[in-house]
Structure formats: C-alpha cells, structure tokens
Amino acid sequence: MTSMPDDRSQDDAGLREDLVAYLDGELEAAESRRIEARLANEPGVRRMLQELDGTWSLLDELNTSPPDEHFTQTTLEMVALAADEDVARGRAEAPRRRRRRWLAAAGILLAAAAAGFAGVALLAPDPNAQLLRDRAVLENLDQYRQIDGVEFLRMLSREKLPAEEADESPRDRAALGSQPATIDEMTAAQKEELRRRREQFAALSPAQQQRLRQLDAELRRDPDGPLLRETLNRYCQWLSAQPAYRGMQLLELDPAARIKQIRQEQSRGFGKRLETKDLEAIARWIDQYATEHEARLLEGLPASHRAALAGLAPAARHRIVLETVCQHWQSGSRAAQGAISDAEAAELRARLSPEARARLASRPAAEQSRLLAVWIRQAARQQLGTRRGEGAALLSGLDDRLADYFEFQLSPEERDRLMSLPAEEMQQRLRQLYLAQAKPAEPGGHHAAHGKQEGRGKLEGGRWKGEGGRRENEE
C-alpha cells in the first residue's frame, strides 16, 4: 500500500529535482552553491546524489551498434522514391512550364544523393540484373536525353522533320555492337562502353532515370514505335551538325516552338552532313591544328593538369590535346572558333573535296565560314566519338561539356563563386554562363563571355572572318 505524500516526501522530491538538475549542470550559480553547501554538510544528501549518479551511469550499457551502410543506402533510395512520387504528382498538377522547373529541381536535388551511393550500388549482390533491365535505355541513352517525350517525336514525324535522311546508323547503338544476349558475351570494348553509359545513367537523378525508362517503354509499346525511332535517329543526326548548345536551347522550348525553330534552322540548309572523306580530311586538319597549337592549348590548362600531362609520353599527350580541341570545337565555343587564322582556314578549304568546295562556294560569302564551322563541328564530334573507346555517342556529353567548361574555361574566381552557391542555383548559373559564351553574339553586340577564352589574344589579328565583316563565330 502506498503512503500519502507528506511534507517530508515533498521535500525529498524538491531536493531530488535540484540534485538531478545539479548533476545535469542546469542549476543557476546561486542554487548550485546552495546544493554544494548541503552536500558538504549532510551525508544523506551526499548519498542521494551518489545513488542518482551511480544508476545513471549504468545507462551507458545501453549503447547500441550504429546502422550499417545498407541502412544509409535504403534510406536514401526510399527518399529518392518519394521524390519520384512527388515528381509524378507535380507532373499531374503543375502547368507545363512550372513542371519543367520542378523536375529540374528534383533532379538536381537527388543527383548528388544518387551519385553518393552509386559506389554502394556497385557492391549490390547482382549488379547485372539492374544493368540488364536498363540495357535498352543505356543503348539509347544519349538519344533519349535529347528529347522530352514521345509526343515531340510524333510532332516531328508528322512534320517530316528534320528532312535530312540519316546517312549512317546511330552511333549510339552501333557502339554497343550487335547486342549479345548476356553481359558475359560482350567484348571488352562493349562492356567498357556499357559501363561508361551506366555511370552516366547512375549520375542522373532517379526522376530523370525514371523518365528515360518510361520513354523507352512508351516507344516499345507505341504502334508507331519504329517510325518514331527513325525520327529520333534523324533528329539526333541533325542535332549533331548543330552547335552543342542548340540541343539545350531547344529543350528549353515547348514542343511547338521547338518544331518551329527546327524548321527555321533546316531552311537555312546547314543540316546536311558532309561526305565521310571530307569529314576525315577535316579530322586530319584538326589533328594538325592540335599539333601546331599544343603549347598554347596546354598553357590554357590549370597548372595541376599541365603537370599531369607533362609526365605523359608525347603521343598520349597529343591525344589528350586533340580531344580538348575537339571538345572545344564540338561545344561551339567562340574562343575556339575565333582561334583560326586565315591561312589555317585556307588550308582547310584546300583539303576538302571538289564537291564540298563547290557547296561552300555556292553560299554567300558571309555564310561560307558559318558552314565551314558546322562541318568542323561534325568532324570534331566524329573524331571524339571514334577516340572514346571505339564509339562514344555522337551526341553525348552535355554534362561533359558543362564540366569541361567549368574546369577549363572559367576563372578560379568564377569557379569559387559557383561553388559557393546552392546546387540548383550553381547548375543554373553554369548553364547560363555556358550558353552566354557559346551563343552567337548579337550583331554588333558586346561579347558577354566569361572565363579565360584561351588563345584569343594571340590570334586575334588572324581571326577567321567572312568577307562580310560580321562576327563569324557560329553558323
């Protein structure tokens, strides 16, 4: 039977509260002194304090083992899934414009998380299972990333755009060869290519991954699937002859505006691809260009990269320089375009076939250098594609280009400024900077490029210009 609380027990309760608060360091200074005085003079109070303290320390026994890596991984995956659901809900509810921004935000938010445990994913019990499931997407990864849905393909197909026939099978699929049934049957090069694409895919946000999987599934289900795929091939082929920023710009537009833009571009007639022999001739010219400008190009690299390259054999170093040149050409960077002397341009023309020269000559003077620039990009892309593991995708590497731009073309101060921004804002700002330097300037407008713009100063006098005297950076 319990006794009724009396004055004594109330006093005890008050004293105990103070003792516990004293042990927890929660008493005011004056109260602490009062308790300390009692502790010094009253053995019963001292004993109470010791008992409270002693049993409290027994709770140390309750320490538990920390969760393992699997817990972290599944937690992040679960949250990624939840974000996917949010994206789907946003898709259903938000107007189209807002939706794109939302998707981008969710994508960027989770890209880091996805990348964060991509390493853990590699240790999963059966990595091949997921790889096989995503194989169809990986085979078409670079093409799928150029569009935002089947509906756009349908519109393109109806409009019979782009009108150019694809003159070669898409490199995207060709790089993976004849698609053996199992991973084990793949050649080393095919496995390497698949691995590269898988890394690219893993770096996408779960929402983006899901979008690509869905696109693939829709194309499979659609009765017009083969026709739409053909349209996609043609579109990507056409894009490959465009400046690299064009794909990004087009994706910013809604499908109707995009179609209109494509029609306009097409009417300018720059879409037609060159013959292979001319592309090869230009590739040789690029090679020579890289050799002649190697020292200057290396100068433009960060010191750490220069030091790393200095340790390489000359042939390996040249290959990297060549890739850098090709990337600059492919990106459509004005700095790269501007760094061609008249003599070099003349040399390039001389290497072309009579047919290509005739095609060039049929253009007004002001357009000739623009067309030549388009051809150089085509050749650079082909060159890059060939050099990367026997066939990296023609259109791949938007992320690569942004990373390249970030690393090589921005000043350290600009890089630091970007790094200090939140992830989403940083991506947005980087894209703006990239587009600003890659886009053609307004006629007579001010050049708004940022970063180093390597080589411009040296070759400024010899800048490659059309006779019309206007700025000839792009088309």
């Binding site: 002693g54 939140p422 992830a423």
Partner: protein, 233 residues
C-alpha cells in the same frame, strides 16, 4: 510556432540547421550528410523508445522521409536535433499506439499494463527462484538496465534518452516534448528516481536480489509504488 528573428539567427549558427537549409534549397548531398550524421543517434533513441532494432530502423527511415517531405516548409525555429527528435517522438508514439491496439486485439483485456513491466517481472522471477546471489555478467547488466528503462513511461524514457545520449539541455528537451523547462526538470527527476529504485537493489552489491517482489514491485509502478518501496534505502 512563431520565431523571433534573433532566435532564428541564433539557430542558424547550428551547422545542422545550415545543412537543412541547403536541403530545402535543393541539395541532395546535404541531405545525405544529415542522414549520415544522425542515423546512429536516431536509431539508438528509437530502439529504446519502441524496444526493437528492426522497428527502430524502419521508424528512423520514416523520420528521415518526413524530414525530406517537410523540406520546402522548413523554417528555422529550433536546433535541427530538436526538430528531428520532435518528429521522431511523434513517429515512435504512433508506432507504440498502433502496436498497443494490435495487442489489445490479439491478447484481449487483462494482459495489458505498463509496457515492459511483465518482462521485468519475468526476468526477476526467472533469475531468482532458488538461485543464490551471484555476480551479474555484462549481458545480464545490459538486459536489466534495458528493462529498467522500458519500465519508465514514454515521456520519461524519451527525456532520459535525449538527456543521456543526446546531451540535450532541459530547454531543448522541453521544446522537443512541448513542455516547460521546469516540467522537464521534474520529469527527469522522477525518471532518475524510478531508475534508481529499480536498479539500485541489483547493483548495490553487484548481485541479483534474493527472492522476488522488491524490484519487481518497484518497477511495476514507477513513481508511485516505488516511493513507498524505498524503505530500505
């Protein structure tokens, strides 16, 4: 809860609040960082709140999910840990309530009662019987301490865990439990006294108690029967 600008600025110095603000602004790596920083602490507290590792991990994931879902509405109103454990306490309370409902259905009336007490009773009965007093081994100590903690009511237990393992101040515990700091002082005092009454007979001489009754009775009614059972202290 309305928050003054100055207190928001004060909390903004908390590095975890800054991480959470990055999460709000779209940073996935900041979220991963928060998971890595808090997962062990959260699982430990939840494990002792709900009494099972597996369930604790599930609930911890639920807590992180809620944090993620609330990111857009996140405003700085407390330390991040305070906010996180407030969510955790609600999630745990829901889980315990759901479990009790299921128990009522499966066990029927008559077997409910303070959580953990029957286990404590069983432990005492099973460990005493005809056995002489003997030294407790490490595993037994852990089990007894765990059961003593489980014998506390939910609020006491959470306050003890936040105080002991999270090192939270009374003010932060008060914010987490939606109490006043003096109420937390009183709550923690009762909790520690209950723990002392339950554990002291076991450990005063490093032995199990002889016979049944004493400790079991103490644990059965924390804060009530325990007060009168302290006669021997």
């Amino acid at each position: 809860m309305a928050v003054s600008e100055s207190s928001a600025r004060r909390y903004a110095l908390d590095p975890d609040v800054r991480l959470m603000l990055e999460v709000r602004d779209g940073s996935g790596s900041a979220f991963e960082e928060l998971v890595l920083r808090y997962q062990a602490r959260l699982v430990r507290v939840l494990e002792h709140l709900v009494g099972g590792r597996h369930l604790a991990e599930d609930l911890a994931q639920e807590v992180f999910l809620r944090v993620f879902r609330a990111r857009k509405q996140y405003v700085v109103s407390a330390k991040f840990a305070t906010w996180l454990f407030t969510i955790a306490s609600r999630v745990a309370a829901n889980a315990v309530r759901d479990r009790s409902r299921r128990r009522e259905v499966t066990l029927g009336a008559g077997e409910s009662g303070p959580q953990g007490v029957p286990q404590m009773d069983r432990l005492v009965v099973a460990s005493t019987g005809s056995m002489p007093a003997r030294q407790l081994d490490k595993a037994e100590i852990r089990q007894v301490v765990r059961l003593a903690l489980e014998s506390l009511n939910e609020r006491q237990r959470l306050a003890v865990l936040l105080n002991k393992f999270e090192g939270m101040s009374y003010a932060d515990i008060a914010a987490t439990l939606d109490l006043s700091p003096p109420a937390v002082k009183s709550l923690l005092s009762r909790a520690r006294e209950n723990l002392r009454q339950t554990l002291e007979p076991y450990f005063q001489y490093g032995t199990r108690p002889q016979g049944s009754g004493g400790p079991g009775a103490t644990a059965a009614e924390p804060g009530t029967a325990g007060n009168s059972a302290r006669g021997g202290q």
